[in-house]
């Protein structure tokens, strides 16, 4: 990457795989379970978290020298809350049905452990540009898992992708349904999200033995 130095590009690429916030740090699981039944919702959630985390990291990083450390958590919460409300309002204005579908989970980005974790661990000790990259990278790592899980859950659970019936029409019995295929209702229930995340963790650690904990 010519645009970024090697150190900077590591900030973005590391969280995508070997330091993924969901599969390695095991943060942000709750939203991964809640909203991944549909691919569209996963994508919107990923983008929202990316916006909040990218901007939030920059804001915190700019303020890092003037925040008294005693009240830093409160300050961080105020920043996240403000950003989340903005995202929520934008969604309500431009994608109302989707914001209905995501309901409380956009609001609950405030409690997403990844965000507070990055503020604490990175933005408080690094400059704004690097913090921005770190925020985008971690949100991308989070989003990647969300999208993988959402892809499988929607495809196998509803037979659709982004709302399109890619496997055929279950009522008219076309495509795969004509030969007796049926949607897997278990995929739409939260436990299956956990199992898919578990399978991703399994594959990842089988490929890279360094990631296996003692």
């Amino acid at each position: 990457m010519g645009l970024l130095s090697k150190k900077d590009s590591k900030l973005i690429l590391d969280p995508l795989a070997d330091n993924n916030p969901i599969t390695i740090q095991v943060l942000g699981i709750c939203s991964a379970l809640a909203i991944t039944a549909q691919l569209k919702a996963s994508i919107v959630m990923a983008i929202s978290v990316m916006a909040v985390l990218g901007i939030g990291n920059v804001v915190i990083s700019l303020m890092r020298n003037i925040i008294p450390s005693k009240i830093r958590i409160i300050v961080q919460l105020v920043v996240v809350a403000a950003l989340v409300i903005i995202v929520d309002q934008i969604l309500k204005a431009f994608a109302y049905s989707l914001s209905k579908e995501l309901s409380v989970f956009i609001g609950l980005i405030i409690t997403n452990c990844i965000i507070m974790g990055r503020f604490e661990a990175f933005a408080l000790g690094n400059g704004p540009w690097r913090s921005f990259l770190d925020g985008i990278g971690n949100a991308a790592g989070y989003g990647l898992i969300l999208i993988i899980v959402g892809f499988f859950r929607e495809l196998l659970g509803s037979g659709t992708l982004l709302g399109f019936q890619v496997l055929g029409d279950p009522i008219q019995k076309t495509g795969l349904y004509a030969i007796g295929y049926e949607n897997n209702g278990f995929m739409l229930l939260s436990p299956m999200a956990l199992i898919i995340v578990g399978l991703i963790i399994w594959v990842q650690r089988a490929k890279n033995k360094d990631l296996i904990e003692e």
Binding site: G180, E182, G185, F186
Partner: protein, 399 residues
Amino acid sequence: MGLKQNLHKLKEKYKGTKMAPAFNALHTFLYTPNETTHSGSHVRAVDDLKRTMNTVIMALVPCLIFGIFNAGYQHYAAIDNTLRIDPLANFFTWDNFILGAWTVLPLVIVSYGVGLAVEFIFAIIKKHEVEEGYLVTGMLVPLIVPIDIPLWMLAVAVIFGVVIGKEVFGGTGMNILNPALTIRAFLFFAYPTWMSGDKVWVHGAKEMAGQPDAISGETILGSLAANTEPVYSTWDMFWGFIPGSVGETSTFLIILGALFLIFTKVGSWRIMLSAVLGAIVMGLIFNGVADAGWIEKSSNFYGLMSEPFWHHLIIGSAAFAIVYMATDPVTASQTNKGKWIYGFFIGFMGIMIRVFNPAYPEGFMLSILLMNVFAPTIDHYVIQGNIKKRMKRLKVKTA
């Protein structure tokens, strides 16, 4: 040269190669292995894990054979109701057997074929011996599914159950949940239209639905949940001439199997007895509630609640689950005291879930899976209690 020698030679030939576990498995499945331990302590016993598993399979064979006849019988009796007047005379017929074998044997083949394939693949990848655990699971699975379940669904469920229910924990002996029930639970949550309702328990009922010659295959629990009187007599329930999952209908054969398991000391009588007690206690509580008039006759739960408590043991999957599922030595409690608690709650909650589950009037699958999760905790507290008791005794002695 006998088969045993041939197998042994094959085994020697492939020793140390990737495929070795597969040949070893075949060899030890059919014969006692030639190897003996060279050092360390020896446990002298004629039965190894494979013999234990085979004992359970032997106890299951009557249920399978009965299930085959019953599959055919239920189909023909649903079409021609007069057959039900004298079940015994119309039960053991060639027609029933042929139709039953045609529908049940594919389930058995898919269950074993897919499950063992997964086991072999894992053994080869992980470079350990093929484990015996699937021998029993593979026999249980076809007995606890509805007769018309599509084979690909069964295959998907078996892969899920063996991989997620067993292999991720480290294989046979390490699993927390009963693999057969994991497979069934997967089917139940994934494809509910094939696992519940009044059209799945009799062969052909789903296909003929909506046609003029439609047949019904409502189970007894299903009709009780709908507050209608079931059409079967108590003796039908006991002998097993009723619709249901393939092998679980005949309480009589299950009791024989239970005696066989207890006699060979493979199944734990403590779990069986305490589970029956738990079911009776819960059944009596519900009977009392219904008799006292605390529940409206029009209530959704009245039919199941007012059913005599001992009926609950001979309908649905209660007997089969208690004898063959709850006693799985890996997932049950290990301590004797723990077994009583574990078994009691299986029976107790099985009936409770059966009565109160609005979507599906049966509860033993879920109650056993739940108690599987609690079994290690129960054992932990039993052992802690034991330690405390002994410490106290020691103190009294030394004081």
